[in-house]
């Protein structure tokens, strides 16, 4: 960096001098020499995390702009602004300032909509990024800690979304807050007091907007920013995982260097995400709070929906049966507490600990830098799909009123159907997914042994018909043979040869059964002998085909696609067939 080049551009000279200045004070060149050419593997799904990061930056930028005009106050004002339908109406300053941003500040609506759109995209990208990491097993050792950071970020993303959603203090978001109050009150023992502390007294009070505001613009984004930093430092230090492919091993990274490729691609992609958010906000209206009117706790509109990421919790509240128990004069509202506190609690805790659970169950303590293909981990993939189906049904239930009115269904019948589905569909999804994965494994095994089916049917001299198999290309071969070896943990003995009881029998037996659950059905990778035998078979076939290929040279073409039976003299392609029949007529 500090070496000066005689042909350098003046700007470069200034840059070099600057680099030297910084290096002499921070030793930055040591870092740069190591990292400017750091290699990152490339795959489209690796951009999901980038979208999350970039949309978060857009959220921060637009949010900062909004704080210049928004007033987090529940003090009452009479609206007097450009939005005529609400003129002269009492409302909170929060709502009035939101209307002001939307109608009187030039570009205010654009920034408000960009803030909302990028927030929605942020949560969506976080969720899909998490799916990618889960289904490819990227969370495995050494990346378990980063997975936990990711789960924490997901939770914070939901918190950021919800606290922001409530700030305009419109009728829709206020109803959401009212539901939060009901949820807080359902928490046993402390719930009633908790609700009073959160709202500063009886609902709705005069404090909640300013409290949500400090959480929304300081506490939550501060934590998110800190955890994103940790997240990225870990990715950097551990180097990105890669999908299997030619030349890619568990011990290397194959991809493009940071400078210049990723500097341009990732930097460019930030502008793409930013630009699309801005275009979307110019074209598509989001959260038109002026339509809903100011919040008042005795009004509600029918058919209202929360932002998409809260929908599943609302659906859980809708589907839960109306259980409530009174024990010794104290009420436990299972109907609210279970769907809104217990279920999400279990889901997120399970999510956070999943890498450790899987490693414990399978006894897999190796470092994994090469990603799993989802089919090669059928149980994990099954669990993931099961969770998505569970979530999906709750999400659908969150819009059950809209579904019922749109398709003219009975809301009661629909709710009962969804209740049953919530119990039945996830295990079913698990079984189907696992079976599908195993079938794909069998196909992979076949391909390794016999190559891929070419669609060409051969008739052997003794009359047998066979389909010609072609060898796999290098890339496919590398991908398929990347399948990791899996072994079920051995079943423990109850007691050893000297009849000494195994004190850890129960634990080991549980692990044995869990690992059998994870790996027991896996289709084994073909052995070297089997592959060799398959190769012989292919050679035999090639020998049979050889005379035919001589015909080929004499323009008797073997149909490569249709699998048409043929022998010399017959029309060999559909086109030929058509021509010959045309001639006949």
């Amino acid at each position: 960096m500090s070496t000066t080049n005689t042909t350098a551009h003046p700007v470069e000279k200034v840059g070099a001098a600057g680099a030297t200045f910084v290096d002499q004070r921070l030793g930055s060149n040591k870092f740069l020499s190591r990292n400017l050419s750091k290699v990152f593997p490339e795959h489209w799904s690796f951009m999901l995390g980038e979208i999350a990061l970039y949309s978060f930056i857009v959220v921060l930028l637009t949010g900062t702009y909004l704080t210049l005009f928004y007033k987090p106050s529940m003090a009452e004002v009479i609206y007097d602004g450009s939005y005529v339908p609400l003129n002269g109406i009492y409302m909170s300053e929060a709502y009035a300032s939101t209307l002001n941003i939307s109608f009187d500040i030039r570009g205010g609506l654009l920034i408000r909509q960009m803030h909302h759109w990028s927030a929605l995209i942020f949560v969506a990208a976080v969720a899909v990024h998490m799916f990618r990491v889960f289904f490819t097993g990227a969370f495995r050792k050494p990346r378990e800690l980063n997975w936990i950071v990711g789960v924490a970020l997901t939770t914070l993303a939901l918190a950021a979304g919800f606290t922001g959603y409530s700030l305009p203090d419109d009728l829709l978001s206020g109803t959401g807050l009212q539901i939060i109050r009901g949820i807080l009150q359902s928490i046993p023992l402390i719930g009633t007091w908790l609700a009073f502390f959160v709202f500063g007294g009886e609902y709705p009070g005069g404090e909640i907007i300013s409290r949500l505001y400090s959480a929304h613009i300081l506490l939550v984004p501060g934590l998110i920013l800190a955890l994103i930093t940790v997240h990225l430092i870990m990715v950097w230090t551990q180097k990105h995982t890669q999908f299997p492919g030619p030349g890619r091993t568990n011990n290397n990274v194959v991809g493009y260097p940071l400078l210049p490729i990723y500097m341009a691609k990732a930097g460019g992609f930030f502008f793409i995400v930013f630009g699309i958010v801005a275009l979307l906000s110019g074209l598509v209206n989001i959260n038109p709070v002026w339509i809903f009117g100011p919040y008042t706790p005795d009004q509600v509109t029918a058919g209202t929906q929360p932002d998409w990421y809260i929908g599943w919790l609302d659906g859980a509240l809708r589907l839960m049966p109306n259980w409530e128990t009174v024990i010794a004069g104290f009420t436990i509202s299972w109907n609210v507490f279970i769907p809104s506190v217990v279920v999400p609690g279990i889901l997120f805790t399970g999510l956070a600990f999943y890498p450790f659970l899987e490693a414990w169950a399978t006894g897999d303590k190796r470092e994994h830098n090469l990603l799993d293909r989802p089919r090669n981990a059928p149980v994990r993939t099954g669990i993931g799909v099961m969770a998505i189906v569970f979530y999906g049904i709750l999400w659908l239930a969150g819009g059950n009123d809209l579904v019922a009115t749109t398709f003219d269904l009975s809301i009661n019948a629909l709710s009962w159907t969804l209740r049953v589905l919530l119990i039945v569909a996830p295990p079913l999804a698990f079984i189907i997914t696992k079976r599908t994965c195993l079938s794909l494994q069998r196909r992979d095994r076949d391909k390794l042994l016999h190559g891929y089916e070419s669609g060409r049917i051969l008739r052997l001299p003794h009359g047998e018909f066979v389909e010609v198999h072609q060898p796999l290309n290098e890339k496919e071969l590398a991908v398929i043979s990347s399948k990791p070896d899996t072994a079920v943990l051995p079943a423990p003995e109850k007691s050893d040869a000297d009849r000494v009881r195994n004190p850890r029998y129960l634990v080991h037996s549980l692990r044995h059964r869990l690992s059998a659950f994870f790996y027991g059905d896996n289709i084994p990778r073909p052995t070297a002998q089997e592959i060799e035998a398959g190769q012989h078979h292919a050679d035999d076939q090639a020998a049979v085909e050889a005379p035919l290929l001589e015909y080929e040279e004499r323009d008797v073409i073997v149909n490569a696609h249709g699998g048409v039976l043929h022998h010399p003299g017959m029309p060999t392609t559909n086109a030929d067939q058509r021509t010959s029949s045309d001639n006949n007529t």
């Binding site: 009633t192 005069g206 551990q238 030619p246 341009a264 275009l279 906000s281 209206n285 209202t304 470092e367």
Partner: protein, 360 residues
Amino acid sequence: MSDNIDANLPAQPEHSGDGTVKPGYLPVAPIEHKPRVTDTDPKAARRAERQVASMFALSMILVVVFVIAYVTIDVTAVVYVPVLGEIGASNLVLGLTFGGAIFFIGAGAIQWAKKLMPDVEVVQERHSMESSTSEETEAAGNYERGKEESGFARYKIIRRSLLGAMALFPIPLIVMLRDLWQSEPGQNPAEILSSTSWNDGMRIVPDIGHDTGENVQGIRPEEIPVGGLVSALPMSIKDLKKDAVANMRDRGKSAIILVRMDPEEIRSQQGEGWDYQGILAYSKICTHVGCPIALYEHRTHHLLCPCHQSTFDLADSGDVIFGPSARRMPQLPIRLDEEGFLVAQSDFQEPIGPSFWERG
């Protein structure tokens, strides 16, 4: 990371453009590399160069258009756009120009990377995350030395008092949260939640928005037709007009609905004689999680909550007939006062709204 081989690499990859990498850079993965048109055809490369530069230029032009639009377009102006309908002109133009200006910087950079920068994949080695044994020993040694020199293990009394101090110091931070709710002495949430503004003789007034008018005297029975529903509030709401917090609180708590049905159709109610000639008063706040309810089907007398679809039968004591709510809708006993207006007989006989721990 000091043993990282990256340190030995040149900072700038040297790439000759024909798919080969110069020695000293990195081993190339055994992947077939097909040269791009821009690698082989100088014309195509120049075309790509022009494309990238035009995108950057377009971005600059859009910024100029943005500033012009910001200054000239009236913020209240509306335009008709096919498909989108009537939308704000300012928002549309600012969004398109701002978004376009940003987008084309990104598109240009990516086009540049894809067409003109090297597309040969390179390989770097990974290293196990685990530290070497010598580093581990050194770290453990440092720790032991620190423990020894500080005397943390030896000075038992210092150690214990430090742990005690560390355990206690967050207490003030927690104690200070007490005034998140500035309650009067002796107040407790359960009692507050168990009563509303209704009392014997409290007149019922229709809820006509925030300005529940000065002239509104109350509701006469004949103003409610059979099958009708009226949202109503206690007369005391008028006194709270100036107090936003109390006003909101009362709306979220004392709001009721009045429904009128043929007295023959009332199968049961929560107390003897709580209706007035078929007019029943129920809380408006759902007993599930507290949404206000006003979806009433007058033929079946079912009341449906729009939030989570709890359904109550108002002709049968407000019992839950469907949905997640566990409690019936509390009924307010009503009667007629001397002036012929509907009034409450008393407060609700049970807490309204969502259940809570101390509710019983």
